[in-house]
Point group: none
Chain length 200, copies 4
Amino acid sequence: MTELVEAPPRSGNKRARILRAATDVFAQVGYFNARVSQVAKAAGVADGTIYLYFQNKEDLLITIFREHAQSYLVSLEGELSGVTGWGERIRCAIRHHLTTLGSDRALAVVSQVELRHTLKFMSLFSQAEVAEYLNILRHTVERGQAEGAFRASLHPQLVAKSIFGILDELVTSWILSEKEYDLAAQASHVADFVLHGLMA
Amino acid sequence: MTELVEAPPRSGNKRARILRAATDVFAQVGYFNARVSQVAKAAGVADGTIYLYFQNKEDLLITIFREHAQSYLVSLEGELSGVTGWGERIRCAIRHHLTTLGSDRALAVVSQVELRHTLKFMSLFSQAEVAEYLNILRHTVERGQAEGAFRASLHPQLVAKSIFGILDELVTSWILSEKEYDLAAQASHVADFVLHGLMA
Amino acid sequence: MTELVEAPPRSGNKRARILRAATDVFAQVGYFNARVSQVAKAAGVADGTIYLYFQNKEDLLITIFREHAQSYLVSLEGELSGVTGWGERIRCAIRHHLTTLGSDRALAVVSQVELRHTLKFMSLFSQAEVAEYLNILRHTVERGQAEGAFRASLHPQLVAKSIFGILDELVTSWILSEKEYDLAAQASHVADFVLHGLMA
Amino acid sequence: MTELVEAPPRSGNKRARILRAATDVFAQVGYFNARVSQVAKAAGVADGTIYLYFQNKEDLLITIFREHAQSYLVSLEGELSGVTGWGERIRCAIRHHLTTLGSDRALAVVSQVELRHTLKFMSLFSQAEVAEYLNILRHTVERGQAEGAFRASLHPQLVAKSIFGILDELVTSWILSEKEYDLAAQASHVADFVLHGLMA
DNA sequence: GATGAATGAGGATTCATTCAT
DNA sequence: AATGAATGAATCCTCATTCAT
């Protein structure tokens, strides 16, 4: 049984292996077309084992997002904490978004495409993790306005959504592109555009 | 044309009725959860009849988007043709986007949510209709730059994607919002932000 | 395997064919071991067709019983209406029970064995059809007592249950017997025993 | 973890605990709906432990019946041995049946309902324990007839089945009843009816 | 063109049983 | 002896699509 470097690793944390396998399979064939048995095979576990760690197929999808979103928010706040200047913080957030998703295509596909299957699903995340992300952006805008760095006439929430929308679109566009390019490389250009729009 | 707003009309163009029913049903329960028989019932036709007008369930979804996207692009160009000033054209495009989707929630749901089921699906549209839309925006930016109205340092394609991303996010946000509000009312604020970012 | 007259008839009422097939298959392998596809095959229809006529597998079992129980009660009352003398009526009911079940072994197996899978199931029938059957017997006993034909000291409901219990056991015993014998032939002997117990 | 007086006892004979737990669980949710893990939990042992004492799930059900049936037959013969007069012996058997099952509802449910899942299952018991029970009753009837106490025209085996049928039905009826009543209290009434039918 | 009864392939999930510890 | 994590076979039901009428 030549269990090579590739595929189904026999050891290690099963839960993590299943989650990674699910991310890859969902990204490749789509959530609805993905078979649970396919995920199991890719993770090197029996079909039933998946149900020891997750409630059902949907729970896999939700968990993938939840865990990444959480770690994303933590790392974002970590990065932001070391940055002074409101403009710089916006720039940092933009860079972080594009860098993170730009370094794991399967994860990006899952979050940009597979996660948006249903209104219900989108509501779910839009009210929790996404809302928190928007809050971080909005607060930054508000602080910048308070200090006179950003134009006071802008609606902070609308700006937050706009920034998120731009980043979201760039990631989607990157995923769909036939050419492979460095997503993070666009960060400074985006930041220029956004900050110019914000500046007093 | 006794095409009343409400439910299963008994007469009139079957194809259009099916398409409208599909839009409503898809928006309400989601494409994957929608049953062809449900669409048939909502359209007031027999299940089999749908297959006289459409190849299969997926064809319904594709057609909904295709037809609306085409009429959207036609109407957009119509509106733009009467506008002078590159900034005004951007403003007009923004207004048109938010006004159109803001006036048909079911259509908005379908295009923001249901259409994004699969990578394959998104590629399909991103390479055709969406690409054309981006082209219109990009050309406007390029022209504006050529005339010195917009900053030359910006990448036109990136700006186009950014504008699209912002609008896309605002529509999605509007769909998911529990409060009902006028989407089109945000047009001028968005335009201010975008144009300030563009202006030399 | 003599697949003669029996097996998959190609025409005729689908619902009835499915019901008959289900009775036979359930009797042969037991409800829990029976596969829906097996019933479909035996009925000469597609698996899915069964679900056009019945809600689910359990509904098949319930319906088999319901319909036979109803027709049984109707025919029993038909027979009883032509009989005078309370003792004769008891005799008639006994004969009818043993004759009816003794002429359709598969049906007998289903009602004696398969139908008693669960407390829930038994309650279901015991509160409806069986209760009505017991009522008929009890009323006969009561009338017989009122006319002085039967001993007044007996509890009518207990006698009704006793008669039912005797018949039920005889049917079960007949089903389980390795020897084939005429169930109805026991009617007069049973009646003698029962009536002797009843007589004043 | 404070395992108090209640539930899952930590000590004592595991085999007996498992058997008791199985009886209770089967009675409560039915054999087919019962999960082996549920029985294990109720018995306070690990799932796998059950397989150290029993071959499989079915073996649990068979063993429950086998052991109770054996102890039942032993106790019945014990009681009968002290009784003189054939009529009294019948009366004694009836009382013993209703008293025994009337004092352990879970056991009664298992023997009246859960044990009758399949033709195969019923055959199994009908040929062994039940047959032996019927033999005891039949011999009593035969002896009574030989001594002229019971009518000679009755078929002893049919009478034995009838008595069993009556008792069986009364137990079933008691189980299914929504009202709680003393099953054993019916013994004398049943005996009156039966003996009247038997008496010369 | 219209119908809608019939089809049958396809998959998530359960759970009895095993066996390494 | 006891455990309980892991297994994977096994099946009911759904629903897009067809086609005889």
